[in-house]
Subunit: 302 residues, 2 copies
């Protein structure tokens, strides 16, 4: 990332964070009555200060193709709901059993396990609900397309499928191609979706070469993200991460660092980031923030 882009990207990220949290807050308002505690748990999980990289991707790509920002903020909130649900369930005692999430008690520690299960369930539902409401797009084909793409990215052939492969791989030495497939499903599919969703919202059809370029960009970004995550898991402290560091080693999980070494993993992240940039070559100066984002994905510190 060159210095001239450092500031604009950080400003854009900060602004997006604020706007996306305002969108989440408005789409999931506190309610009175007996179900108030469910909504509280959902808000706790969805408003705990994430980096909103997925939501930011939606916003930037929607803007690149001229979709209205208000609609894009709904789609951004939706992908953050989906992401939040996955984190709440991942942290459960029967899963990763993690008490900390972004430096705060995870949802089942703050509330209890039953509420964490139900809040995650309802956050998944909300992700679909927000996409399917007319305020997202007057065109029902766009709404249905967005929701179908989300289902494919997050279900048994996407995020949840990848989670299962991850669990079954614990304590085993996995070959590189299996680790690649696992992460393409577990974390890559939703990042790729976030990118594609911006293009769908702007009305780009599935066979539009611009949508295809954005999918390639999102795919490389997703892999780069995971390689960087594995590097951070090895090199950063729990304090820096806001979540437990060294988890892969503790769980005897194969990851990009154990397979490629720390230098090999850094080179691979660089290569993916460069390849992501190249997918944007036809978009001109308007895509400069997205190019800087590809660097940010591999250079981040948490």
């Amino acid at each position: 990332m060159t210095d001239s882009h450092a500031l604009p990207l950080k400003d854009a990220l900060r602004q997006a964070c604020r706007d996306i949290e305002a969108s989440i807050d408005a789409l999931l308002p506190p309610v009175p009555g007996d179900e108030s505690l469910l909504i509280e748990a959902m808000r706790y999980a969805a408003l705990n200060g994430g980096k909103r990289l997925r939501g930011f991707l939606v916003l930037e790509i929607a803007a690149l193709f001229g979709a209205p920002r208000e609609a894009a903020l709904r789609v951004a909130a939706s992908v953050e709901f989906l992401h939040a649900y996955s984190l709440v369930h991942d942290d459960l005692p029967a899963m990763d059993d993690d008490d900390l999430r972004r430096g705060q008690p995870s949802t089942h520690k703050k509330f209890n396990e039953a509420f964490a299960i139900l809040a995650g369930d309802a956050l998944q539902t909300s992700a679909f609900e927000v996409l399917l409401e007319e305020a997202t797009s007057k065109d029902p084909a766009i709404r249905a397309d967005l929701a179908l793409a989300l289902a494919r990215a997050s279900g048994s052939a996407g995020m949840v499928g990848g989670q299962v492969i991850d669990i079954r791989g614990e304590g085993k030495a996995l070959p590189l191609e299996k680790v690649q497939r696992l992460h393409a499903m577990k974390t890559g599919a939703l990042i790729r979706y976030a990118a594609e969703a911006g293009a769908i919202l702007a009305g780009l059809k599935a066979d539009d070469p611009r949508r295809e370029a954005i999918i390639r960009y999102g795919t490389d970004l997703g892999t780069a993200f995971q390689v960087a995550d594995d590097i951070l898991d090895t090199t950063a402290s729990t304090e820096e991460l806001g979540k437990t560091a060294g988890k892969d080693e503790d769980a005897c999980k194969s990851n990009y660092v154990s397979l490629l070494g720390i230098e090999g993993a850094r080179k691979e992240a660089q290569r993916l980031s460069e390849q992501a940039r190249q997918s944007l070559s036809s978009f001109g100066p308007q895509a400069e923030t997205l190019r800087a984002l590809a660097d940010y994905f591999v250079e981040r510190r948490n």
Copy 2:
């Protein structure tokens, strides 16, 4: 239910069960590879011999308004996926902690807790995915409408919200109106959705009086179902139910029987069933199976 309708309804239910299970089987085929165990857990949960009353409602109402049976079977499978997800998560140790479901080990006993959480998650996603695929309807407005109605019936303002009110009401004496609201959300919303979904699939708009009549029918059916469930929980054995009997009393839960007495609850179920029949008065002889179904809902033995 008069004798002349007893046989046709039972035959129709049996045929629907077979067809819906074939539809589930086709929409969720076993897969090879590392994620095979997830699909196995999803199939275990979705294909364990339920009565398919929700799916049957979809099929009968779709047929009443002339929607193709093949598409209706997809919508029926979808609502059964959603229902199966809710049962898998309800049975978890942190929730109802139930080892038995329809006389078989519940999903977390057969597999483990992590797989039960993930299989439930992926079944919810599949419910949306199936609705949103083009094979369900060529009209994207119908697909989006079906999926939005499912989200509203099953999320924080519907099924999951009702589940939370139920949990928070344990050990407390709830007034009748709170028990009514709880069940309208927890079990009623999805039964009402199943009825409405058949009408949506057939292309009936939201302001069509026929769709409104079907919603009234589905609403009364949903309440009648819960009243009958409370009666069965008091009067039937665990063996007859295929799930643990007397659970409400054990958990000190207020229900229709504790509030109305067993005779009062039976009368209320009858009243609701009769009212459901009346909503169908404009539909003529074609709706005879749906009328018989209203009786079956309150006379069933498990």
